[in-house]
Point group: C2
Chain length 345, copies 2
C-alpha cells in the first residue's frame, strides 16, 4: 500500500486562505491519494480578544484575511510551524516573500524525507550581483524539489469561485500531476508546464509593466498606446528571462502566468493605479504609498529599481528600455512623456 | 538611375485617411526613393454640395471621415480608380472588404508591371469550403505580391499621433524595407515580419474573442475571468492558424497585430460593447446592431458564425471551444454562462 500524501499550507493571508479552501476541497476528491486533513500554518495573532487559529478552527473561516468564505471542515489551523509541517509530504508556500528565509530556517531539519514543495510567492530577489527565484531559495535551504504557481488570480475572485486559470511550473512529471490534483477545479483551471523559472519571472516583472501602463493612463493616452506598452513589456519580460535564465520558454508567456496575468495587472491593480496618481498629482511614490496604500511598499516600482540596479553594472539598461524608462521616471525625475518616447530600441 | 516609387492609397475612409497622412509625410523623408506626389483614390461623394475630392484637395483634409486632421500638401485625391492607380508601383489597399473584388476587377489590366501592394483590409473571407485572405485574393486577381498590415491601431488615435505599434507581414525582404519606410514614424512603430498570414488572421479572429470578453463583462465577471477568456482566445487564434495555414508562426502572436490588438479590442471596441449589451438586455444581435450601430453589421458575431460554419462540416467545433461557445450563445440560445463553463478542452 502506498503511503498517502499529507499536505500542509504554509501561510494564511488573503491568497493563502483562498488556496487553502481549494486544497481542502480537492484532497477530499482523491481519498486514495491524499490524507483527509490539511494543516495550515497560521501566524498567530490576536483577533478580537481570541487567538486567530481558534477562531479559524471554530468558525471555518478566516475573518481577518478572507471574511465571508467558508473553509471545508478538513482544514486545521496550526500556530506552530514545525508541528504543522513536520509530517507533510507536500508543502505549499504562500506567504509574503520577506518571511521565506525565517520560515525555512525554522523548518530545516524537521521536514519529512519525502517532502516536496510548491511556491506561490510573488516576486524575485533581485540584487545587484544576482537574481534569485524564491523556489530555488526554498529548494536550497530545505534540500527538496520546489515547483511554482502563478496566474491571473485575484484572491477574492478565486475564493468566490469565479472562473480563471493558473500556471504551475514543475520539472518533475509525477509531482506536476500531483499538484494538478491538488489545485485544479472547474473554476480554477491549472496548466502544468515544466518552465518554473518563467512562471516566477512573469509574476515579478509584470508589476514593472503595470507601472508603465499606469503612467500611460495618467497621461490620458488611449488604448493603442497602453496596448503597445503592455506588449513591449511582455517582450522585455521574455528577454530578461532568456538573457539571465537561458531556460525560459516562449510558450510560457502564452500561459495564464504570462499574458493573462499581465492583462489583469495592467487593467486593474495597485501598481497601475498608483502610477496613474503619480502622473496626475506629481507626488513622489513614497507619499502616494502612504496616502493610497497605508504605507505599504508598491511592488512594481521597487522591482523596477532592483532591475535597474541589476542591469546597470552590466551596462544593459539600454536593452530593456521600458524597464529602464519606468525606473527613470519614478526615481530620477525623467519626464513622464518618455514612457512612449524612450521605450523602443 | 533607379526609377522612383510611385504610391497610390486606395481608399479614403477613417483609417485610409489616417494612413494617407502618414504616407504623405513619409515619402517626403525619402526623396531619392519615392515620388513626391501620393495619389489617393477617393470614392466620389457629394459633400455639402461639392465633390468630396475637390474639398479634400482644397482643404487638405477629409471633413467627412477624418475631420480636424490636416494632410500634407503632396496628397492628391483622385476620383477615377484607374487614373489613380495605373502608374503606381506601390498600391495601398485600405477599404471595406466588400469593395475589394470590384476594385480589383476595375484595376485589372491597368496596373504597372512593377506594382506590388499591401493590404490593410480587416477580416477574412471564411466560407464553409475555404478560408481566404484578402491579400491572397488581391494577389490572385492582379498577379502581384501583396503584403499585409495590422495592429493595435485605432484610426483617430493614430491620426492624432498618439504612440502605437503596428505589424507588417511581408515575404519579400526588399518590399518589407520599402513598406517600413512608407509607414514607420516616431509615433507609429512598424515591425516587419514574414508571416503575412498570421497578421491577417489575427485581425479577423480577435473580434470573436472580443465578443466573448463582452459576454463576460455583461455577466459582471471580474478581470481574472476576462483575462482567461482573452488568453484562451489567443490560443484558439493560434490553433486556427496552425491548423488551416501551417505557416503561421508563434512569434506573430507576440507582435502588435497579435496580443496588443487583442488587448485593445477586448477592452474598448464595439464587439465587446455590443456583446455586453446582449447579455444585459437579452435583445438579439440584429436588434442591437440597429440600436447601437445604426444597422451596421457587427464583425465579431459574423466571423463567429463563419468560423462555426467552416469548422462544423470538418467536425472540429469541439477543438475551438471558445469560438464555438460564442457562436452558440449568440445564435443558438446557449446560456450566457457557458462562456466560462464550455471554453476549456
Amino acid at each position: 500500500m502506498v503511503k498517502k500524501e499529507s499536505v500542509c499550507v504554509i501561510g494564511s493571508g488573503n491568497w493563502g486562505s483562498a488556496v487553502g479552501k481549494i486544497i481542502g476541497e480537492n484532497v477530499l476528491k482523491y481519498p486514495d491519494v491524499f490524507e483527509e486533513e490539511v494543516r495550515q500554518w497560521v501566524f498567530e495573532e490576536n483577533y478580537r480578544g481570541e487567538k486567530l487559529t481558534d477562531v479559524i478552527n471554530r468558525e471555518r473561516e478566516n475573518p481577518k484575511y478572507l471574511p465571508g468564505i467558508k473553509f471545508p471542515p478538513n482544514i486545521r489551523a496550526v500556530p506552530n510551524l514545525v508541528e504543522a509541517t513536520k509530517s507533510a509530504s507536500v508543502l505549499v508556500f504562500v506567504l509574503p516573500h520577506q518571511f521565506v528565509r525565517g520560515v525555512c530556517e525554522e523548518m530545516k531539519g524537521h521536514i519529512a524525507p519525502n517532502a516536496r514543495a510548491i511556491s506561490l510567492i510573488k516576486g524575485l530577489e533581485i540584487l545587484p550581483e544576482k537574481v534569485t527565484l524564491f523556489s530555488e531559495e526554498i529548494s536550497r535551504k530545505l534540500g527538496i524539489n520546489v515547483a511554482s504557481l502563478s496566474g491571473a488570480n485575484i484572491a477574492d475572485e478565486v475564493a468566490k469561485e469565479r472562473f480563471c486559470e493558473t500556471t504551475i511550473g514543475c520539472q518533475n512529471k509525477e509531482d506536476g500531476e500531483l499538484f494538478h490534483k491538488l489545485f485544479n477545479t472547474d473554476y480554477f483551471k491549472v496548466n502544468v508546464i515544466r518552465d518554473y523559472v518563467g512562471v516566477e519571472l512573469c509574476g515579478a516583472l509584470k508589476n514593472v509593466v503595470a507601472v508603465g501602463a499606469g503612467i500611460s493612463d495618467g497621461l490620458g493616452y488611449g488604448s493603442n498606446t497602453k496596448a503597445a506598452i503592455i506588449r513591449l513589456g511582455l517582450m522585455e519580460m521574455r528577454k530578461f528571462g532568456q538573457t539571465f535564465f537561458g531556460t525560459v520558454e516562449d510558450s510560457t508567456f502564452f500561459e495564464s502566468c504570462g499574458v493573462a496575468d499581465l492583462i489583469t495587472t495592467c487593467s486593474g491593480g495597485r501598481n497601475r493605479k498608483v502610477a496613474e496618481a503619480f502622473v496626475r498629482t506629481g507626488k513622489p511614490i513614497d507619499v502616494l504609498e502612504k496616502e493610497l496604500l497605508n504605507g505599504q511598499k508598491l511592488q512594481g516600482t521597487l522591482t523596477a529599481q532592483e532591475v535597474y540596479e541589476f542591469l546597470s553594472p552590466r551596462k544593459m539598461t539600454h536593452e530593456f528600455p521600458l524597464f529602464t524608462t519606468v525606473y527613470r521616471i519614478i526615481y530620477e525625475g525623467a519626464p513622464v512623456e518618455s514612457i512612449v518616447r524612450d521605450i523602443t530600441l
